[in-house]
């Protein structure tokens, strides 16, 4: 490679054991592998700001780190489910994106969202759904049902992966059995537990997926995120995405600024920057989710514009809902069911 450059940056790195420079910097704390490097380069060049990206792998880790503070993060990208917690605990700065220049580009649909009414704190990053990815060569039936997970047909038994997201799995199971999100109906919860315990032996694994596991036929079906499913289909057209008609979660990841942010102004610039349609399209081009900014479609690749993974078909549009973090008592019940399931 480039030995001198490498050695030089190695030295620079050792030198950087000292405190980080605080001027012209923006520190983004985002989900892993979720940030388009082209978007960052463009932002850096536009504003002459050096951006660092640091990954987290769960809302709870991000929350724990932000609560303790001291890590120099400016921007954080929590999911809709946990946004109310971040706001209630006073971790986020009220940057008023609703008064920013590019706010006019925001899809009105995403302005008065339950987790940040009127958008006083956050700007949409990407949104998507959790549904079914299934191999049509193995399974010819209707993909739009969570029966694929909970009462799997013979041909899928032993080939199903379930994401180990406790809340998503329980939400789907509760809706499948006719309940409401965060239910405390004990009779129903008992049925949920029994259904999950009965279904588990028919799953092959409970893991976060990657494309290889589908293309290499480790899995024929999975509980999966819409963008992940789209990326699979683009590599391997045998796979389709289904919206469970019994109910499925919609989620949105949101760009917010931490109260403890060392570089507040740069963080505001970033919030405004990503509400520009062309920049929002860059976000979507990478992770393959919709972004909530009007006009960004014009800058997207054709395979994104009509993708059924992104444009929810009308007949399933009202089957999905934004899920919220359940109350602590409910989380305790869920954790018990989850432990029972995996013991």
């Amino acid at each position: 490679m480039r030995p001198y450059l490498t050695a030089a940056s190695g030295l620079a790195l050792i030198a950087s054991i000292g405190p980080a420079q605080a001027e012209g910097v923006l520190n983004i704390f985002n989900w892993g592998d979720y940030t388009n490097p082209d978007l960052i380069t463009k932002f850096e060049e536009t504003y002459d700001i050096k951006v660092t990206i640091t990954d987290f792998d769960s809302n709870d880790t991000a929350l724990a780190k932000a609560r303790q503070g001291g890590n120099d993060f400016d921007i954080v990208v929590p999911t809709s489910t946990s946004m109310p917690i971040w706001i209630a605990e006073g971790l986020l700065l009220e940057t008023r994106p609703d008064q920013m220049e590019n706010f006019r580009n925001m899809d009105p649909r995403w302005v008065d969202v339950p987790f940040d009414p009127g958008r006083h704190y956050s700007v949409p990053w990407q949104w998507g759904t959790t549904g079914v990815t299934v191999n049509t060569e193995v399974y010819a039936g209707d993909p739009n049902t969570s029966a694929i997970f909970f009462d799997p047909p013979e041909e899928l038994v032993g080939k199903i992966n379930i994401v180990p997201e406790m809340n998503d799995v329980l939400y789907m199971a509760i809706r499948y059995l006719g309940g409401e999100a965060c239910t405390t109906d004990m009779e129903l919860l008992r049925k949920v537990r029994d259904k999950l315990v009965e279904a588990r032996p028919k799953w092959v694994s409970m893991d976060y997926t990657n494309i290889d596991r589908f293309t290499a036929d480790d899995y024929a079906a999975a509980m999966n995120w819409s963008g992940g499913s789209l990326r699979i289909r683009l590599v391997d057209p045998r796979f389709v995405y289904g919206y469970p008609k019994e109910g499925y979660p919609i989620w949105m990841d949101n760009v917010a600024v931490l109260k403890s942010a060392p570089n507040v102004e740069n963080a505001r610039l970033f919030q405004n920057f990503i509400m520009d349609p062309e920049n929002a399209a860059l976000i979507s081009a990478y992770a393959r989710y919709a972004n909530g900014i009007m006009g960004s479609e014009a800058f997207m690749a054709d395979d994104m514009k009509t993708a059924p993974e992104i444009v929810i078909p009308a007949e399933f549009a009202d089957k999905g809902e934004f899920t919220e973090a359940c109350a602590p008592e409910v989380t305790a019940l869920y954790t018990k069911i989850w432990t029972d399931l995996l013991k």
Binding site: M206, T331, T335
Partner: protein, 307 residues
């Protein structure tokens, strides 16, 4: 009391004092960056859990400890023994024990092989053992998966040669976990074994053989007792981390069964029950620490008997 005795005592005291100075750097580092912070966990274990993770500071409760051993049935509210936690503990201990035995069976001959190479070649072989581990754990695990998956190297090879006509499901089984764990932890066994085998005087074994001891006897009566410290060190290094392992079980085993590591992680993560997580980990530490002390005592006794 004679003067000579005084001098000997003073020398012994000085020796012990020097030994404390000598171990000070290790003790200080571990205190600052490992043990000290753990007092936080002890405190957390007796506080009230926060609504969304963390704890409510300075509100105390025994709930975390209660939940380690008992559970209130969510449906009929009766209190019973937390059998979920026990079965997870049992599964983890079993897996860690089998991993230790497998790595010992594979690692001992390997260390022996390295230790009997010509002197200048030994470090080379040692490096060869560690080279695969320069590759990140996750990548290594994915590489193992390439070998064992249904369309992987092994199954394809077996099918081409006609030994099987259906791929054998190895991925996402307990066997896959065991393979992966054995793979990941092998050097942790080989290196300490090698370190104590390397200085073993193989002339002893030759002498024994000359006295008509057969090779298994030589192994059992001479070599094994001599390298006991290495076996102890290796077993600890493999057993203890594999008790808390969670990447390998999840990626290769499919994550359908919780291990102790995952159970504790669940409480600090999605389960949002930090006091229970803290109490569980303190219990685990105590169990491991106690069994370790018993094990080391027993091992050094064996050593004394043979030595």
């Amino acid at each position: 009391m004679t003067q000579a005795q005084d001098i000997i005592r003073a020398a012994a005291r000085r020796d012990i004092r020097n030994r404390w100075w000598l171990s000070a750097p290790a003790l200080v580092i571990i205190f600052l960056a490992a043990i000290g912070p753990l007092f936080v966990v002890v405190l957390y274990s007796v506080m009230v859990k926060g609504d969304y993770g963390d704890v409510k500071y300075w509100q105390f409760s025994g709930q975390g400890w209660f939940e380690v051993l008992f559970e209130r049935d969510m449906f009929d509210n009766t209190v019973s023994f937390a059998d979920a936690h026990l079965s997870i503990l049992w599964r983890s201990v079993k897996l860690a024990a089998i991993t230790t035995i497998v790595t010992l069976i594979l690692g001992f001959p390997t260390a022996y092989f390295i230790a009997t190479r010509p002197r200048h070649r030994r470090d080379l072989w040692l490096f060869l053992i560690t080279i695969p581990f320069w590759t990140n754990l996750l990548i290594r695990t994915f590489a193992i998966q390439e070998v064992f998956r249904n369309e992987g190297l092994l199954n394809v090879a077996l099918m081409r040669t006609g030994l099987i006509d259906q791929p054998i499901q190895i991925m996402f089984t307990d066997f896959a976990i065991l393979l992966g764990m054995g793979y990941v932890y092998l050097p942790l066994m080989v290196l300490p074994l090698y370190a104590s085998l390397e200085k073993f005087d193989f002339r002893l074994a030759e002498a024994a053989a000359d006295l008509y001891a057969n090779s298994s006897r030589v192994l059992r009566r001479i070599i094994v007792p001599m390298v006991m410290p290495g076996i102890v060190a290796g077993s600890i290094l493999v057993f203890v981390p594999s008790l808390g392992a969670y990447v390998t079980p999840r990626l290769l085993g499919g994550g359908k069964n919780l291990m102790l590591g995952n159970l504790i992680e669940l409480q600090f993560g999605q389960g949002r029950n930090w006091p229970l997580g803290s109490a569980l980990s303190i219990s685990l530490t105590a169990i491991v620490m106690l069994s370790l002390l018993v094990y080391v005592r027993a091992a050094s006794k064996t050593e004394a008997r043979h030595g």
